[in-house]
């Protein structure tokens, strides 16, 4: 018998995830993150009008939803088409908690995130044994039925009318309305920051790597002792928390809740952010939410042509550049290093 205990696999495997070639060390990534978010935090000094700040706030909200979807869709390979339902559940949970239960809005934000997690677990149980297209169908059915239930329970949810005059978050006696969205900007940015750190830490951890292993080679990963059911539950639950909070914040920010959050058009836009950005990157989805939202806003005068042009753009990028914006950036940086090295 050797001195090393080989009875459990964890004893023979190194504790830390080894640094593979091409993988950025966590110190460098953390530094880049801090610099990036510090720059974003300075934006309100330059951008002072409330319309531009509103666009940025929407980018942050979409960025949270899209990057969390990237966790389940990209890293997990789980085609969760109920992701927007988790966002919608956040919207309605916050609205009902603050309006009917008169809960403190800040607590309601967090509780909405937790409710979204519970919903995610509920939808994951039936898909634990399913693959591919069946996951799409079941999660899609889940989203539609959540919407139908909200529509039919109009006594509480307002049905197609939605809910109006939802209590918003407050910051001591700061005036949230007359500051040209200054406070909302920082709340949204803080939410995006917390969500991004959480997601990146998760995908870099051993749990994150086991999730990718399951996606890439399920049989081998399972034979090495990774539990498919447990990791799938973790993936979906983790992707739900900030999505639910984003929904709750969206309700607090817009001050109304409408059934449209379950609609196909929002789902299409967010999904195209995930795919245009390039899956399994987290950052790609956030960058794409910036690009796509600014692109869409710049065509505000085009009326019905706006969705037509957006749809064309999505199709063309998917046909021509399937790895998305992050793929473009990566090949650009590879090209630059190659030309620098001669």
């Amino acid at each position: 018998m050797s001195a090393v205990d080989t009875s459990t696999p964890s004893a023979v495997l190194p504790k830390a995830v080894p640094l593979t070639p091409g993988r950025v060390s966590w110190q460098r990534e953390a530094l880049a993150l801090v610099v990036g978010f510090a720059l974003l935090a300075l934006l309100p000094l330059v951008i002072t009008d409330s319309y531009s700040r509103h666009v940025l706030i929407m980018i942050f909200i979409y960025g949270v939803v899209a990057s969390n979807w990237d966790l389940s869709l990209g890293y997990g390979g789980v085609f969760n088409f109920g992701h927007l339902a988790l966002f919608g559940i956040g919207v309605y949970a916050y609205s009902l908690l603050t309006k009917l239960a008169e809960m403190n809005p800040w607590i309601a934000l967090v509780v909405s995130g937790l409710i979204a997690v519970v919903a995610a677990v509920a939808v994951t149980v039936p898909i634990l044994r399913l693959k591919g297209i069946y996951i799409i169908l079941v999660t899609f059915g889940f989203a539609q039925l959540v919407m139908q239930v909200i529509l039919s329970q109009s006594d509480y949810t307002g049905g197609t009318q939605g809910i109006v005059r939802i209590p918003t978050v407050t910051w001591f006696d700061h005036n949230m309305v007359r500051d040209a969205k200054f406070a909302y900007f920082y709340i949204a940015l803080a939410m995006l920051g917390a969500s991004t750190v959480f997601l990146r830490a998760l995908v870099r951890s051993r749990t994150g790597i086991s999730i990718v292993a399951l996606r890439d080679n399920e049989e081998y990963a399972v034979s090495r002792g990774i539990s498919l059911a447990r990791q799938r539950l973790i993936t979906l639950a983790a992707s739900a928390f900030f999505t639910g909070i984003a929904g709750a914040f969206y309700a607090a920010y817009q001050r109304n809740a409408s059934i449209e959050v379950f609609g196909m058009s929002l789902a299409t836009i967010i999904l195209s952010m995930v795919l245009l950005g390039g899956t399994s990157t987290i950052y790609g989805a956030i960058i794409a939410s910036f690009v796509l939202t600014v692109f869409s806003e710049s065509m505000a005068d085009f009326g019905a042509w706006r969705p037509i042009i957006t749809a064309l753009l999505i199709i063309v990028v998917m046909l021509v550049y399937p790895s998305g914006i992050m793929g473009m950036l990566k090949s650009a940086s590879r090209w630059m290093t190659r030309s620098r090295n001669g």
Partner: protein, 292 residues
């Protein structure tokens, strides 16, 4: 007694519409292995085409088949532009979901530009009403209940009794082997999309005959068709058909006894229960893929 007639009629009617939509989804899935999220758009476009032709003065018995044919062509074109170039990609299913969703949004907004948001209606297949026991129903609805099994029966005959249909089933069962024996797989892909689009167009013409049309009229039926294939399984053609009528009757019964208010929640509960017991769908045969 009125209740029984209500349930029977409502179930058959809704079931017919669901079946027409769901079969197309299943056909495309079994042959190409992708999911067409622009399926609802064919339904809408089929109805608008028919309306346009009738407005131009064509009699309905000419306008309706013409519109169905036009949609078959449209399905082919859509397949060739946003599905076929992607075949072979590792994340095919996911990418096709987004390209068909985008194509659907494009066509939907295009229709809005061309025909405007104003609601339209096309003439019914058969006009007039009839008393069925104690409830009055339109002959149009009865025609739908009768035409649907005919259309689905024709599809069955095509898939089982013609060389082309057999070729389509061969592709569904084993694509590589089909290629080896000289079948034109690319053409068959287009064909399955075309047939699916034609069936959706027929459903659209049915719906446009008794309800007002709008550019988003295809969204709801597509979602219902999705729920139908969750229930019935998607790996066969017959599974979704049984499931369509089952859900039609389920909704009719639930809304009669519990009211519209609770029907979606009951359907939800039934769906979850089904998935816990038989996640691959109620009517899925043991083979993984293939038409039956």
């Amino acid at each position: 007694m009125g209740g029984t007639a209500d349930i029977l009629f409502g179930g058959l009617f809704q079931g017919s519409l669901y079946a027409m939509m769901a079969v197309g989804l299943a056909l495309v899935w079994t042959t190409i292995g992708v999911f067409n999220f622009s399926h609802g758009v064919f339904m809408m476009l089929g109805a608008y085409f028919a309306w346009q032709l009738v407005t131009w003065g064509l009699p309905p018995f000419l306008a309706f088949p013409l519109s169905v044919l036009a949609m078959a062509g449209m399905g082919w074109v859509l397949q060739a532009s946003v599905v076929r170039p992607l075949i072979g990609r590792s994340n095919l299913v996911l990418v096709v979901v987004i390209t068909t969703l985008a194509a659907g949004s494009l066509i939907e907004n295009g229709a809005l530009e061309v025909w405007g948001p104003r609601s339209k209606q096309i003439p019914p297949l058969v006009s007039g009403n009839v008393m069925l026991g104690s409830i009055g129903v339109s002959l149009h609805q009865i025609a739908i209940i009768l035409v649907t099994p005919l259309a689905l029966g024709a599809l069955w005959l095509f898939l089982n009794r013609t060389r082309l249909g057999l070729a389509l089933r061969a592709v569904a069962q084993n694509e590589d082997a089909s290629r080896l024996v000289g079948l034109n797989v690319t053409m068959l892909y287009g064909l399955s999309f075309g047939i699916a689009a034609a069936l959706a167009a027929l459903a659209g013409i049915f719906l446009g005959g008794y309800r007002f049309m709008s550019p988003v009229m295809g969204v709801d039926p597509l979602l219902k068709a999705l729920i139908v294939v969750v229930f019935g399984g998607i790996s066969s053609i017959s599974g979704p058909i049984y499931a369509a009528y089952l859900i039609g009757f389920f909704e009719a019964i639930a809304s009669y006894y519990f009211g519209l208010y609770w029907t979606p929640a009951l359907l939800f509960a039934a769906l979850i229960l089904t998935l816990m017991v038989k996640p691959e769908g109620l009517f899925t045969p043991n083979r993984s893929r293939g038409l039956a």
